[in-house]
C-alpha cells in the first residue's frame, strides 16, 4: 500500500475542521459549516467502508501499515489495523455523521465551534484505534480529552462545569500512570512499537506493575466500578451529541485497549489479575443495574446501564476464550449503536419537553406513535432480545464465562435479567400509561432528520442481530491470533518456571 489510507482517515476530519474555520459564521443559521462537516464525515465513512472492502479478513497481520520516523531515534509514527480495530474505526466514522445530522436539534449557540470540536474528536478517536505504537496511542487517547471537555463544558446542562472537570481530571489521573508504564516499556525493551513488542514479549517480573498501570487508565475510561462515577455526571450534563460520542466511542477505547495491550503485551499479568477483573465486572453488572433501577433521570439511567454493559465487556475479554472476546467486541459495537440510539431518542423528547425526569413523561405512545416504535426497538436492543445485536454479544460473553467459571457466569446472567427490568420499566413509564402531564399533548412526532438518524441506527442493530456473520468474519482471525499468542506466552512462562 503506497497510498496512506489510514493517515487520510485520521487527518480528513481535521482538514474539514480547518475548512469550517473559514466558512462564514455570520450568515443566519450557519448552514454552510454544517454541510461541510456532514460532507467530510460522510466521505470519511465511505473511505472506511472502502477500507473494509479491501481489507483481507483472513490475514492475522496488521494491514495498511504506515511507519514513519517521528521522534528522532525513539519513536515512529506507526498506524495499521487488524480485524478488531477496523470495526471500531467504522463505528467511529458511522456515528460521527449521525451526530452531525442531529446537531441542529440540540445546539443553539456556537454551532461552528461545536462542529469543529466534533471533527477534531473524530480524528483522535480514529487515531486511537489505528495506532500501533504505544506513544502514538497515548497521544490520541489523551488528546481526546480536550474537545470532549469543551463539548461538555460549553454546550452542557446546568452542572456542566462540575461534570467537565470531573471527566477531565478522572481520566487524566488514570492515564498518567499509563504514561509511566509506556516509558518504562521503552526502557525495558527498547521499543514502543506494538508489533515488535508482541514478538519480543515483556519480562515476567515487570508485567504485573505495568498491567496495573495500564489498568488504572482503562478502568477509568471503561468505566469500571468503583471509578465509574464520572460517567453518569458527564452523560447527564453533556449535550445529546456529546453523550452519543461518549457512550458510543470513547468508552470503547478502553475495551479496545484491554484487548490490544493488556492481553497482548502482559499475558501473564492478565492471567494473574483475572479474578480481580471478574469481581469488578460482576459488581459493575449487578450494582450499577440496581442503581439504574432507581434513577429518576432518563439519561442517568442509560449512563448506569452503560456501566453495566461495559462490565459485560470486561468480563468477556478476561475470560480469554474465543467466544468471550468475540462476544466482547460484538457487545462493544452493539452498545456503540444502541447507546447512541438511546441517547438520541432521549434527545428527541428532551428537546421537545426540556426535562429528563422520567415521571414527567408517560403515555407517549398515543402522542408520538412512531417515536414509541423506534424507542421500543432500541430498548429491546439494550436488554439483549434475540434478533438484536445486544443478544449476540451477551450470549457469547456468557458462553465464554461458563467455560471458565460457572459461578461468575451465573451471577453475570442475573445482570441480563436486571437489564431487562430497568429498560422495560423505563419504557413502560415513559411510553405507556396515562398522559398525566397535559403539556405533553403539544409534542410533535419525529421530524425527518430524526427519522433518518434513528433508522440509520435501527438498520445495523437489526441486521447484525439476525446476521452477525460479516462482523464475526472480520474479527475471528485476529481474535484467534491474539489468543494464540496469549496462550503461547503462558505456556512458555510455565515451561520456564519448571
Amino acid at each position: 500500500m503506497n497510498f496512506p489510507i489510514l493517515s487520510s482517515l485520521i487527518l480528513l476530519p481535521t482538514i474539514g475542521a480547518l475548512f469550517i474555520l473559514f466558512t462564514k459564521s455570520s450568515s443566519g443559521k450557519y448552514q454552510s459549516s454544517k454541510y461541510v462537516a456532514l460532507f467530510i464525515s460522510l466521505a470519511n465513512f465511505l473511505l472506511s467502508l472502502y477500507l473494509w472492502y479491501v481489507f483481507d479478513k483472513n490475514s492475522v497481520d496488521f494491514q495498511f501499515v504506515e511507519n514513519r520516523e517521528w521522534l528522532s531515534g525513539f519513536i515512529n509514527y506507526k498506524v495499521g489495523i487488524d480485524g478488531i480495530s477496523i470495526l471500531f474505526v467504522i463505528l467511529t466514522t458511522f456515528i460521527t455523521p449521525i451526530c452531525i445530522i442531529s446537531v441542529n436539534a440540540t445546539i443553539t449557540n456556537r454551532l461552528k465551534d461545536f462542529l469543529i470540536a466534533i471533527l477534531i474528536m473524530e480524528t483522535f478517536m480514529i487515531g486511537v484505534f489505528c495506532s500501533l505504537d504505544l506513544v502514538v496511542f497515548y497521544l490520541f487517547f489523551e488528546a481526546g480529552l480536550i474537545p470532549m471537555f469543551l463539548i461538555i463544558g460549553i454546550w452542557g446542562g446546568e452542572r456542566r462545569v462540575y461534570s467537565a472537570f470531573k471527566f477531565f481530571l478522572y481520566t487524566l489521573l488514570g492515564s498518567v500512570l499509563m504514561l509511566v508504564a509506556i516509558i518504562s516499556i521503552y526502557w525495558i525493551t527498547g521499543t514502543t512499537d506494538v508489533e515488535k513488542l508482541y514478538e519480543l514479549g515483556i519480562k515476567t517480573e515487570y508485567q504485573n506493575l505495568l498491567w496495573l498501570a495500564f489498568f488504572s487508565s482503562f478502568a477509568v475510561k471503561t468505566p469500571m466500578w468503583p471509578v465509574h462515577t464520572w460517567l453518569p455526571d458527564a452523560h447527564v450534563e453533556a449535550p445529546t451529541v456529546g453523550s452519543v460520542l461518549l457512550a458510543a466511542i470513547l468508552l470503547k477505547m478502553a475495551g479496545y485497549g484491554f484487548i490490544r495491550f493488556s492481553l497482548g503485551l502482559f499475558p501473564i499479568a492478565s492471567e494473574n489479575f483475572t479474578m480481580l477483573v471478574y469481581i469488578l465486572s460482576l459488581i459493575a453488572i449487578i450494582y450499577t443495574s440496581l442503581v439504574a433501577l432507581m434513577q429518576e433521570d432518563i439519561k442517568k439511567l442509560i449512563a448506569y446501564s452503560s456501566v453495566a454493559h461495559m462490565g459485560f465487556v470486561t468480563l468477556g475479554i478476561f475470560t480469554m476464550t474465543q467466544q468471550g472476546i468475540e462476544g466482547s467486541i460484538f457487545q462493544m459495537i452493539s452498545h456503540g449503536l444502541v447507546s447512541a440510539a438511546l441517547f438520541l431518542s432521549v434527545g428527541v423528547i428532551y428537546e421537545r419537553h426540556h426535562t429528563r425526569l422520567i415521571n414527567k413523561y408517560g403515555g407517549l405512545v398515543s402522542i408520538m406513535p412512531r417515536y414509541a416504535i423506534v424507542f421500543m426497538v432500541f430498548t429491546l436492543g439494550a436488554l439483549g432480545l434475540p434478533g438484536t445485536t445486544g443478544f449476540i454479544g451477551e450470549f457469547l460473553i456468557l458462553m465464554g464465562a461458563f467455560e471458565k467459571n460457572i459461578l461468575v457466569a451465573m451471577i453475570a446472567s442475573l445482570g441480563v435479567i436486571l437489564g431487562a427490568a430497568y429498560m422495560l420499566w423505563l419504557f413502560k413509564r415513559v411510553v405507556f400509561g396515562e398522559i398525566n402531564n397535559q403539556e405533553l399533548k403539544s409534542m410533535k412526532d419525529l421530524k425527518t432528520f430524526e427519522i433518518i438518524t434513528l433508522s440509520a441506527l435501527i438498520i445495523p442493530i437489526l441486521f447484525f442481530g439476525f446476521y452477525p456473520e460479516p462482523l464475526m468474519n472480520s474479527i475471528e482471525a485476529s481474535v484467534e491470533n491474539t489468543l494464540n499468542m496469549y496462550n503461547f506466552d503462558l505456556i512458555n512462562n510455565l515451561a520456564s518456571k519448571d
Partner: protein, 471 residues
C-alpha cells in the same frame, strides 16, 4: 589573545549599552528610538552568536571563559526570547508611562550579565555575571516607581536576592578553600575525594542558584515580584533569568561538581519534587493571572530540574528542551495578557477573562492552546517537554520522581482548566480593545503555531539539543 573574535557578541552588546546610554543622556526624548535600537542590536547580537557557533570547546582568558555547544544554544534561546520580550512589551510600556531610556538599557545589561553567566568557567567570572544581571533586575522590578506594588517587589527582590547572593558567595569561597582553585575544571580535578568543605560549598551554591530559578523552598519572592513588576518585566523575569540559571545549574553540576553527584542528586530531587507539588497546589487559589503564572513557573522549574537530577546526558538534554518549550509557552501566555487592554488599562485578574471566547475567539483559542500546553496535555508542545523529561527520569529508574511529577500535573491541570472554564463557560463581560501592535500579534501567532504544530516535527529541537553532551 588570538581568540578575541569568540567574545565578539559580548563586546558588541557592551559597546551598544554604553553607546545608547551616552546617546540617551545627550539627546532628549529619545526613549522610543533607543528602544527600537536596542531591539535591533539584540537581533544583530543573535546573528553574531549564531555566526560564531562552532562545535568545538573554546577556552578564553586563561580558561575562565568557555564557549561550547551548551553556552551557544542557551545564548541563542536567551537572546531570541529577549527579542520577543522587547517586541511584545513596546506598546505596554508606552501605555503605562514607563518609556524611559533606562528601560531597554537595563534589559540589555541584564542580558549581558546572563551571557557572561552562561559562558563562565570560573567562580569569579560567574559571580560577576550573576551580579550584573541581578542589579539590572532589581531596578527593572521596581521600575514603575509610582506603583506601590512595584516598589515593594523591587525591594523584596533586592533583599532576598542579596541574601541568596551572599550564601552563594559563601559557597564559592568554601569551594575555593577546599579545592584550591576558582576554575571549574580545576575544581573537578582537585575534588576527587570526599570532603565536608566542598559538600557545604555545593549546598550553598545550589541554594543560591535555586533562588535564581525560583525553586521551592527558595521561591517566596516569585509571586510578589511577578505580580508587582510591570507585566513586560514579569515576562522578562519568567523567561530569561531562568534560562541563564538553568545553564549555570548544568554547568555547576556537571563540571566542577561532577564527581560529587551522590551528594547533590538528593538535593536536586528534593527541590524538584517540592517545586512540582507546591507550584501545583499553591496556584489553585490564585486570583491574579501574574501570580498564578508565578506558581506555574515554579512547578515548571521543578520539571526542568527533574531532568538534571538524572545524572545523564539524556536528562540534561531533556531539561534544555523543557526550558526551550517553556519559554515559548510563556511568550504566548504573556502576549495574551498584553492583549487584555481596555481604555489604556491592562487587566490581569482571572475574573476579567470571563466569557472572553464570545467576543475574542482567536485570542481565546490561543489561550486555550497555551493553557492546555502548560498543563501538558498531548498533542501540544508542553506534553513533549514533559515526555522527554520523564523519558530521562525513568531511564534511571527514578520511578518515585516520575510518578509524583505526573500526579502533580493532574493537580496543576485543575487550575489551568479553571482559567479555560472562565474563558469558555462563563458569561461574557465587556469587550477588550482589538488593535495591538504588530510585534505582539506576530509573537502570539508564532508561539501559538509552534505549540500547536510541534507534534508534526518534534525532533527539530531534540536534534539540536542532542549535540550538548556534558558527561
Amino acid at each position: 589573545m588570538e581568540n578575541f573574535q569568540y567574545i565578539l557578541p559580548e563586546i558588541f552588546i557592551s559597546a551598544s549599552i554604553m553607546l545608547f546610554l551616552l546617546f540617551g543622556v545627550f539627546k532628549k526624548n529619545s526613549a522610543n528610538l533607543i528602544y527600537n535600537l536596542s531591539t535591533i542590536s539584540l537581533v544583530i547580537l543573535l546573528a553574531l552568536i549564531i555566526n560564531l557557533s562552532s562545535f568545538n570547546k573554546i577556552y578564553l582568558f586563561n580558561s575562565s571563559y568557555l564557549i561550547d555547544n551548551l553556552s551557544n544554544y542557551m545564548k541563542i534561546i536567551l537572546v531570541g526570547s529577549g527579542i520577543f520580550v522587547m517586541l511584545t512589551g513596546s506598546r505596554y510600556i508606552q501605555v503605562i508611562n514607563l518609556n524611559k531610556i533606562e528601560y531597554p538599557i537595563l534589559i540589555l545589561s541584564s542580558i549581558l550579565g546572563m551571557m557572561i553567566m552562561i559562558s563562565s568557567n570560573d567562580l569569579i567570572v560567574f559571580y560577576m555575571g550573576l551580579e550584573l544581571q541581578s542589579l539590572a533586575l532589581y531596578v527593572l522590578a521596581s521600575f514603575n516607581r509610582d506603583n506601590l506594588l512595584s516598589t515593594e517587589s523591587g525591594l523584596k527582590y533586592f533583599v532576598l536576592s542579596a541574601l541568596s547572593s551572599g550564601l552563594l558567595l559563601y559557597g564559592c569561597s568554601l569551594t575555593y578553600g577546599f579545592s584550591e582553585s576558582t576554575n571549574f575544571d580545576q575544581i573537578l580535578i582537585n575534588s576527587t575525594e570526599f570532603n565536608y568543605g566542598t559538600t557545604f560549598g555545593i549546598v550553598f551554591i545550589l541554594v543560591g542558584l535555586a533562588f535564581k530559578i525560583s525553586a521551592v523552598p527558595f521561591h517566596m519572592w516569585a509571586p510578589d515580584v511577578y505580580q508587582g513588576s510591570p507585566t513586560s518585566v514579569t515576562l522578562f523575569f519568567a523567561i530569561l533569568p531562568k534560562i541563564a540559571a538553568l545553564a549555570v545549574f548544568i554547568k555547576f553540576l556537571y563540571t566542577p561538581f561532577a564527581n560529587m553527584n551522590d551528594q547533590w542528586q538528593t538535593i536536586i530531587v528534593f527541590i524538584s519534587i517540592a517545586s512540582m507539588i507546591l507550584g501545583a497546589v499553591a496556584a489553585i487559589g490564585q486570583k491574579n493571572l501574574k501570580r498564578l503564572i508565578a506558581y506555574s513557573s515554579i512547578s515548571h522549574m521543578g520539571y526542568a530540574l527533574a531532568g538534571l537530577a538524572t545524572v545523564s546526558n539524556q536528562g540534561i538534554q531533556s531539561s534544555i528542551t523543557y526550558i526551550s518549550i517553556y519559554l515559548v509557552m510563556n511568550l504566548a501566555f504573556f502576549s495574551c495578557l498584553f492583549m487584555l487592554k481596555r481604555n489604556d488599562k491592562y487587566y490581569e485578574n482571572i475574573e476579567d477573562l470571563s466569557g472572553l471566547s464570545k467576543k475574542h475567539p482567536i485570542l481565546s483559542f490561543s489561550l486555550l492552546i497555551v493553557l492546555f500546553s502548560l498543563a501538558g496535555i498531548p498533542p501540544l508542545a508542553g506534553f513533549f517537554a514533559k515526555f522527554y523529561v520523564f523519558l530521562a527520569v525513568i531511564e534511571q529508574s527514578m520511578y518515585f520522581l516520575a510518578i509524583v511529577g505526573l500526579l502533580a500535573t493532574v493537580v496543576a491541570a485543575f487550575y489551568y482548566l479553571r482559567i479555560i472554564k472562565i474563558i469558555y463557560f462563563d458569561p461574557e463581560k465587556e469587550e477588550f480593545e482589538t488593535s495591538h501592535n504588530l510585534g505582539l500579534k506576530i509573537t502570539l501567532a508564532i508561539s501559538t503555531i509552534f505549540i500547536l504544530a510541534y507534534f508534526i516535527y518534534p525532533s527539530g529541537i531534540t536534534e539540536v539539543v542532542s549535540k550538548i553532551i556534558m558527561i
